[in-house]
């Protein structure tokens, strides 16, 4: 096929001026490398988060108060989610698909050990928390039913808290003071490694009664202590939706909400969380890659520019080729394929660079992000760079076809 024979012609003319070809390709190289890396980072980050979420189980539901929509306290949580709600949700008759209900009250408070202290996120909760949130213990154990019932002064801490206070993690049996009260450490959580989503390294857990009654100054609502959130488990992944409805019904009844009133709480499931995360990361990726795509357009304009210069410089060559019998289509194809080869080459170099970057990032230990370049992104990159070559090469190629051979041969 004749079309194939233009490629060596294009390669010849590109290698005849390597420096110029390199500079021309630069825009495409940078554009493709940027788009691929950004897509890769987006994909890597969402894969990380999805793993994390999946590892925490897919049956969990989280009930949290809505935020005030108007008035002075707009944006703050509505203070109506209480221990009364927790007790009501325990009734299996009305909630056959809900198996564990775990209240949480969380606040930031100082932990003191000897001369060290640390501002810590302390959560008052119950024994089931560890199961619902899939906590792993590095040392000791989690809070027990008995300790919850007695509102004992015991605490389970994350590794970062342990090392900050004691410079080691084997600290079961040691004591920390909260608001002057001594708490015995009964367990240390497994380090979660990343400082990001879902990490408990900087947390502490105490019996909910101790948190409500002694440590935090907890507001009340209709005679009950309020909670920051309630976690629950559905019996199975298939029953998550049913469990959600059952919980919603109870909470609406307890608040006396009419048919047209909005909930003053939200129930989120892991599935809805996954959806949200997916939407956020893909929006972000789209945004960033469209910025990167602009660099591709700039690169394409660079190609067009150089091809125009090239056509002018090679006026005599074009005239000669026409004199020797080249058709208009021959000249068009020659220049189109030349710019196609240029951009494809640039695209391939860009792909190589982004792969190099991905490998580099993989080799850096504890680097928070991974770059995952999928086959679809590769095909996209090749397609886009080829498209750039054809689109931005078309005008210069058409200019070349319009040259009058006599004028072109006279051209100095």
């Amino acid at each position: 096929m004749k079309l194939v024979r233009y490629f060596p012609v294009a390669v010849d003319s590109i290698t005849a001026n390597k420096m110029r070809a390199g500079l021309t390709m630069l825009g495409i190289i940078i554009g493709v490398a940027a788009v691929l890396s950004i897509l890769g980072v987006g994909r890597g980050a969402s894969a990380d988060i999805l793993d994390e979420v999946a590892s925490q189980g897919t049956t969990r539901l989280t009930i949290s108060p809505s935020t005030e929509s108007e008035g002075e306290g707009a944006g703050a949580p509505v203070q109506t989610l209480t221990m009364g709600d927790v007790r009501a949700l325990f009734d299996p008759a009305f909630h056959p698909d809900v198996v564990e209900v775990v209240p949480q009250f969380t606040g930031n408070i100082q932990l003191v050990a000897g001369s060290s202290n640390k501002q810590t996120r302390v959560t008052g909760t119950t024994a089931d928390y560890a199961g619902v949130h899939r906590l792993e213990m590095a040392e000791g154990r989690f809070l027990t039913e008995d300790e919850i019932a007695r509102m004992s002064n015991v605490i389970v801490i994350g590794t970062a808290v342990a090392t900050d206070l004691f410079e080691r993690t084997q600290v079961v049996g040691e004591s920390v003071r909260i608001n002057g009260e001594p708490f015995t450490i009964v367990g240390v959580l497994e380090e979660s490694g990343n400082a990001g989503f879902g990490s408990n390294d900087d947390s502490g857990f105490i019996p909910i009664g101790a948190a409500h009654g002694r440590i935090f100054n907890v507001p009340r609502y209709r005679g009950d202590y309020t909670v920051t959130s309630i976690s629950a488990n559905a019996v199975s992944e298939e029953r998550v939706e049913a469990a959600e409805l059952q919980i919603e019904q109870t909470l609406r009844l307890r608040r006396g909400l009419g048919a047209h009133d909005d909930n003053d709480f939200t129930i989120s499931t892991q599935a809805s969380l996954l959806d949200t995360i997916g939407a956020v990361t893909s929006t972000l990726t789209l945004l960033l890659s469209s910025i990167a795509a602009i660099s591709l357009v700039v690169g394409g304009i660079g190609i067009m520019n150089i091809m125009l210069v090239s056509v002018t410089e090679r006026t005599r060559e074009i005239g000669l080729r026409k004199a020797l019998g080249a058709h208009t289509s021959d000249v068009l194809l020659q220049f189109l394929i030349e710019s196609l080869v240029l951009t494809l080459l640039g695209g391939l170099i860009g792909i190589a660079i982004s792969y190099g970057l991905a490998l580099l990032v993989q080799r850096i230990p504890n680097f928070p992000i991974d770059i995952l370049i999928g086959v679809d992104a590769l095909i996209l990159a090749v397609g886009v760079s080829a498209g750039c070559g054809l689109i931005f090469g078309l005008y210069p190629a058409m200019r070349a076809t319009r040259l009058d051979p006599i004028e072109a041969l006279r051209y100095e």
Binding site: D12, A16, R316, G319, L320, R321, A323, G325, H327, L409
Partner: protein, 267 residues
């Protein structure tokens, strides 16, 4: 001479170049017939219209007025594509400035017309090398222009003009950029090609170059002022008269016998 055997027939050809307001009459009613196997030199002062005439013969340009035919086929009705194919098959061009591609080896230069003739790659390379041998450059097939002397470069260009076995070779001042000795060599090559049966039209400033031709056409201000058929024997007759011929750049005793070159109706 029979009408059907004429390779090129021109009847009352005029060419007007427009440059804004001004018009240049580059050819003013030229009639001419070239038979197969002829060796024609076109001489005349600079600006007399020689290159314009050659561009029309070579199908690179079209006349403003008049009829032009190659092998009895009128050029005016042809599409750009057909003209390109005719140039490719029938005509070989040799330019004063060689017009070789930078950095390409000689065989690639020579192969070019075959590329546009859709000749397969292996075959076209073989023929290119063969044609290079014909012009005495068998050993230089892989050399690039910068590795060749001016005379060798012009011979590469001649091989390129010959490779597709054209009926007609057009050369516009082929020795203009060469020194006398290499110019001689190139002219000897043309001589040899003519003896092998090629039709040659050479534009030249050089008297000695013109003397080698069997027929000399002298131009001035866009008209043919003399046309000698056959030999370069001086004769003092002719349509254009002696006085005009004497003012031509070719002094006596060259040329001026006006051959009975009959002009045929083209097409």
């Amino acid at each position: 001479m029979t009408g059907s055997s004429a390779l090129i027939e021109m009847q009352d050809i005029s060419k007007v170049y427009r440059m804004g307001e001004t018009k240049v009459l580059a050819l003013n009613g030229v009639s001419l017939s070239i038979e197969e196997g002829e060796y024609v030199a076109i001489v005349g002062t600079s600006g007399s219209g020689k290159s314009t005439l050659m561009n029309i013969i070579g199908l690179l340009d079209s006349p403003t007025e008049g009829a032009f035919a190659i092998r009895g086929q009128r050029a005016s009705g042809l599409t750009g594509r057909q003209l390109a194919d005719l140039r490719n098959r029938e005509i070989g061009f040799v330019f004063q400035q060689f017009n070789l591609l930078a950095r390409a080896p000689a065989w690639r230069q020579v192969e070019l017309p075959l590329f546009y003739a859709d000749v397969a790659r292996g075959e076209s390379r073989r023929r290119a090398v063969e044609t290079l041998a014909q012009v005495g450059l068998a050993e230089r097939a892989d050399h690039r222009p910068e590795e060749l002397s001016g005379g060798q470069q012009q011979r590469v260009a001649i091989a390129r003009a010959l490779v597709n076995r054209p009926s007609l070779l057009l050369a516009d001042e082929p020795t203009g950029a060469l020194d006398t000795r290499t110019g001689e060599e190139v002219m000897a090559l043309f001589e040899k090609l003519h003896e092998e049966g090629l039709t040659l039209v050479i534009i030249t400033h050089d008297r000695e170059v013109a003397e080698r031709a069997r027929r000399v056409i002298t131009m001035r201000d866009g008209v043919i002022i003399s046309d000698s058929g056959g030999t370069a024997v001086a004769a003092r007759s002719g349509r254009n008269g002696l006085s005009e011929a004497a003012r031509s750049p070719l002094p006596q005793p060259i040329a001026i016998d006006h051959a009975e070159g009959k002009i045929y109706e083209a097409g």
